[in-house]
C-alpha cells in the first residue's frame, strides 16, 4: 500500500459556494418551520393524535440509520483489514458524524418541547429504548470523532484498529436500538417484531453506502480528483448485496405477518389496499429502490457506467425513504385493534376510521430537508478545513498492485 496524501478541498469553485448557499437556505427554512411549529404548536403540521410521528421522523430516522451505515467503508478497512478502502475511511467517519447530527437536529426540533433538550440529556428511564438511543447517538458521535482523530494523528495510529472495532460494534447496537424503537412497540400490529432490528441494520448499511458513493462521486467531480474504477466498483458490488439483504428482511417480515391470521388486516392494508402506502411499497421501495438499482448494478449493459452507479445509489435512497414512510406512517395509519372481535360502530376519537389519514405539511418537509442540509453543510465545511480526502483516488495511487 502506498502512502496516501490527504488534502483539503480548494473551496473556490462555484459548486462549493453554491452548495453552501443552498444548504444555508434549506437550514433557514427548516429553522423557520421549527419556529412556527413551536410558536403555533404542531396543529400547523399534518401530524395528529392518530398519526403522531410524521415526515420529520422519516427524515430523521433516514439520516440516523444512514449515519450508522456510512461507516461501512471505514469498518471494512479497519475491522476487516481491507486496506484498499483505508484512504476513504476518513470521509466515511466524517459522514457518519455529519449525517447523525443532521438527523438528530430534525428529531430534536420536532419535539413538542425542544427547549427541554437538557431534560432529555439528564433524566433517563433506562427501560426506554428511546433513552438508550440518546446515549447511543451521543456516544456514536464521540466514538467516530475519536476514531477520526486516531486515523489522522500519526502517533495514535496503533490504536486505530481498536477504535474501528468499537465504532463497528457501537453502530450495530445503535441501529438495533433504532429498529427496536418500532420493534418494541407492543400495541401496533405493523411493528412489535424483533426483525425490525436486523431490518434497520441492513437498511442502514445500504443507505449509508449509497450516500457514501454519491458523496464520493460529487466530490471527485467537483474537485476533479482522479477516481479509479476499482474504488467505485468494489463498493458498488457491496451495495447490491446490501440492497438484497434489505429485501430479504422485508420479505421475511411480510411472510411471517402473512402467516399470522391476526395480522392479515395490516398486511392487506400495506400490500394491497393501503393507497399511498401500497404504491410506495411496490413502486417506491420494491421497483425503484430494489429491482432497478440491482439491474443497474449487475446487468452487463449498465454495470461499467458511473452514471448507473450514481443512479443506483440515488434509487436506493428513494427506496429506503419509501420503505421508512410505509413502516412509520403506514404502521400508524392502520387503526389500533383495541376491541378484538368487535366492529367499532361509532367513536368520539376515530376508532371507527378504516384508516387514519395523513398529509405531510410543508413545515414538516422544510424541517426534514433542513436535516439533509445540516449534514451537507457540515460535511462541506469539514472537507474545506481538514484533510479528509485523498489527493488522488486513482486505483494505482491507492494500491500499486491493484487489478480490477
Amino acid at each position: 500500500m502506498k502512502n496516501v496524501t490527504y488534502c483539503v478541498i480548494e473551496g473556490k469553485s462555484p459548486g462549493f459556494y453554491g452548495g453552501i448557499a443552498v444548504s444555508l437556505l434549506f437550514i433557514s427554512l427548516g429553522l423557520f418551520a421549527a419556529y412556527n411549529m413551536e410558536h403555533h404548536g404542531h396543529a400547523i403540521t399534518g401530524m395528529t393524535n392518530q398519526i403522531v410521528w410524521g415526515m420529520p421522523h422519516i427524515f430523521a430516522i433516514f439520516l440516523i440509520v444512514a449515519a450508522s451505515g456510512v461507516l461501512n467503508v471505514a469498518s471494512i478497512s479497519s475491522v476487516f483489514r481491507k486496506v484498499f478502502y483505508s484512504p476513504l475511511a476518513r470521509l466515511s467517519a466524517l459522514l457518519a458524524i455529519t449525517l447523525l447530527i443532521g438527523g438528530l437536529s430534525v428529531l430534536v426540533l420536532d419535539l413538542g418541547r425542544p427547549d427541554r433538550l437538557i431534560i432529555a440529556m439528564t433524566y433517563y428511564n433506562f427501560k426506554s429504548i428511546f433513552a438508550w438511543n440518546i446515549i447511543l447517538y451521543n456516544g456514536f458521535i464521540m466514538i467516530c470523532a475519536i476514531y477520526l482523530w486516531f486515523m489522522m494523528e500519526r502517533r495514535m495510529q496503533r490504536y486505530y484498529p481498536t477504535a474501528g472495532l468499537i465504532a463497528f460494534i457501537w453502530r450495530l447496537i445503535l441501529t438495533t436500538g433504532t429498529g427496536s424503537i418500532f420493534g418494541l412497540l407492543v400495541a401496533r400490529e405493523a411493528y412489535q417484531t424483533a426483525i425490525m432490528a436486523p431490518l434497520f441494520i441492513a437498511l442502514s448499511l445500504s443507505l449509508g453506502l449509497a450516500i457514501f458513493l454519491i458523496v464520493l462521486l460529487i466530490d471527485c467531480w467537483e474537485t476533479h480528483c482522479a477516481l479509479g474504477e476499482g474504488v467505485l466498483h468494489r463498493p458498488k458490488t457491496l451495495l447490491g448485496v446490501l440492497i438484497g439483504a434489505v429485501f430479504y428482511f422485508v420479505l421475511a417480515y411480510h411472510i411471517s405477518h402473512l402467516y399470522f391470521t391476526g395480522r392479515h388486516g395490516v398486511e392487506y392494508f400495506i400490500l394491497a389496499g393501503g393507497g399511498i402506502y401500497t404504491v410506495l411499497f411496490w413502486g417506491g421501495y420494491l421497483f425503484l429502490g430494489t429491482i432497478l438499482p440491482l439491474l443497474l448494478l449487475y446487468h452487463d449493459r449498465f454495470t461499467r457506467s458511473r452514471a448507473s452507479i450514481a443512479a443506483a445509489s440515488i434509487l436506493t435512497l428513494i427506496g429506503g425513504f419509501s420503505l421508512l414512510y410505509v413502516i412509520i406512517i403506514g404502521g400508524q395509519a392502520y387503526p389500533l385493534e383495541i376491541f378484538p372481535g368487535m366492529e367499532v360502530t361509532s367513536s368520539g376519537f376515530f376508532d371507527d376510521s378504516p384508516v387514519h389519514p395523513y398529509t405531510p405539511s410543508v413545515w414538516e418537509i422544510m424541517l426534514g430537508l433542513s436535516g439533509i442540509a445540516i449534514s451537507a453543510l457540515l460535511t462541506v465545511l469539514a472537507l474545506r478545513i481538514m484533510p479528509f480526502m485523498p489527493r488522488s483516488l486513482a486505483d494505482n495511487d491507492i494500491d500499486e498492485t491493484f487489478k480490477d
Binding site: 413551536e38 403555533h40 404548536g41 404542531h42 396543529a43 395528529t48 393524535n49 392518530q50 403522531v52 410521528w53 419535539l111 413538542g112 418541547r113 425542544p114 427541554r116 433538550l117 431534560i119 432529555a120 433524566y123 433517563y124 428511564n125 427501560k127 426506554s128 429504548i129 428511546f130 433513552a131 440518546i134 424503537i181 418494541l184 412497540l185 407492543v186 400495541a187 401496533r188 400508524q332 389500533l336 385493534e337 383495541i338 376491541f339 378484538p340 372481535g341 368487535m342 366492529e343 367499532v344 360502530t345 361509532s346 367513536s347 368520539g348 376519537f349 376515530f350 376508532d351 371507527d352
Partner: protein, 246 residues
C-alpha cells in the same frame, strides 16, 4: 284562649329544623369524607389500587355525560380540530362481529399495572403512582410522543396548540402529552372521578370507582361477583379499568 297554628308557620318551622339539621350534620359527613382521604403531606401507597368497573349494559348509547363532565372538569375546551383536540375519555359504540350484539362504553386511560407508556418514556415523565394512577409529569415531558405510539388504547393526546383558561388543578401545556388523570385531584381529597359522578347523576350508574385492593370496597365485591373483561388482556398489562357485559 286557644290559638290556631298557622299552617304556613308550621311549614316554616319544619324547613328551619331541616336546614338546621343539615347544617349541623353535613359538615360532619363531609369531614368524615375528608378524614378518610389521604392527608396532603402523606405519600400515596401501594396499599390501594384505584380502579374502575364499567357496566356496558348500563352505558346508554348516545349519552355523553361522562365525556362532558371530563371536558368541564379539566377545561378540555380548546377549539381545535377533532384530529388534534385532546380526548381523555370518549364514547365508543361496538358490534360483536359474530353475534351482532351491540354495546356502548366509555374509553379512557386504562391505568395499567404494566403501562407501556411508562416503559417507553425516555425521561420518566410518564409514570405510575404507587396507587396505580398513571400520570404525565408535564415538567419533564419533552413532547416526543413515543408514549402515544406505545399506548394500545389510544388514550393519550398531544397538545397541538396554545391553551387558555386552564383549570388550576389540571395543569396542561402546549407541546406535551396528557391523558386521563383519574381525576387525581378529587381522588386525593376522597372524591371520585368527574365522569363517574356524572354517570351517576345521569342515573345510569354504569361506572363504579374504588379501591381494587380493599376486599370490602364496592368495586372489589362487584368484581368478585360478575364477569369482567380487561381490554387487550392478551398483552398482560393488567389495566385498572374493567368492563362488564362486553
Amino acid at each position: 284562649m286557644s290559638e290556631d297554628i298557622n299552617p304556613n308557620r308550621r311549614a316554616f318551622l319544619k324547613t328551619t329544623a331541616a336546614v338546621a339539621g343539615v347544617t349541623v350534620v353535613a359538615p360532619g359527613v363531609l369531614l368524615y369524607g375528608v378524614s378518610q382521604a389521604k392527608p396532603a403531606d402523606e405519600a400515596v401507597t401501594s396499599d390501594v389500587r384505584w380502579g374502575m368497573l364499567i357496566d356496558t349494559t348500563k352505558c346508554a348509547d348516545g349519552c355523553d355525560a361522562c365525556v362532558n363532565a371530563c371536558t368541564a372538569e379539566h377545561g378540555l375546551t380548546e377549539d381545535s380540530s377533532p384530529e388534534t383536540k385532546a380526548h381523555w375519555i370518549r364514547k365508543v359504540g361496538l358490534r360483536d362481529k359474530q353475534t351482532g350484539r351491540e354495546s356502548s362504553l366509555p374509553m379512557l386511560c386504562q391505568h395499567c399495572e404494566n403501562p407501556p407508556c411508562v416503559d417507553v418514556c425516555p425521561t420518566g415523565a410518564s409514570f405510575k403512582r404507587a396507587d396505580g394512577i398513571v400520570l404525565v409529569d408535564r415538567h419533564i415531558c419533552i413532547g416526543c410522543r413515543y408514549c402515544m405510539m406505545a399506548c394500545p388504547y389510544k388514550a393519550r393526546s398531544f397538545i397541538h396548540e396554545t391553551l387558555e383558561n386552564q383549570k388550576p388543578h389540571t395543569p396542561r401545556g402546549k407541546g406535551t402529552v396528557e391523558s386521563c388523570t383519574l381525576c387525581v385531584h378529587r381522588v386525593d381529597s376522597g372524591g371520585e372521578p368527574a365522569c363517574v359522578e356524572a354517570c351517576s347523576q345521569a342515573d345510569h350508574k354504569a361506572m363504579l370507582f374504588g379501591d381494587m385492593k380493599d376486599p370490602n370496597s364496592e368495586i372489589s365485591k362487584k368484581l368478585s361477583e360478575v364477569s369482567s373483561t380487561a381490554l387487550r388482556a392478551d398483552m398482560g398489562l393488567n389495566p385498572g379499568v374493567r368492563y362488564q357485559g362486553l
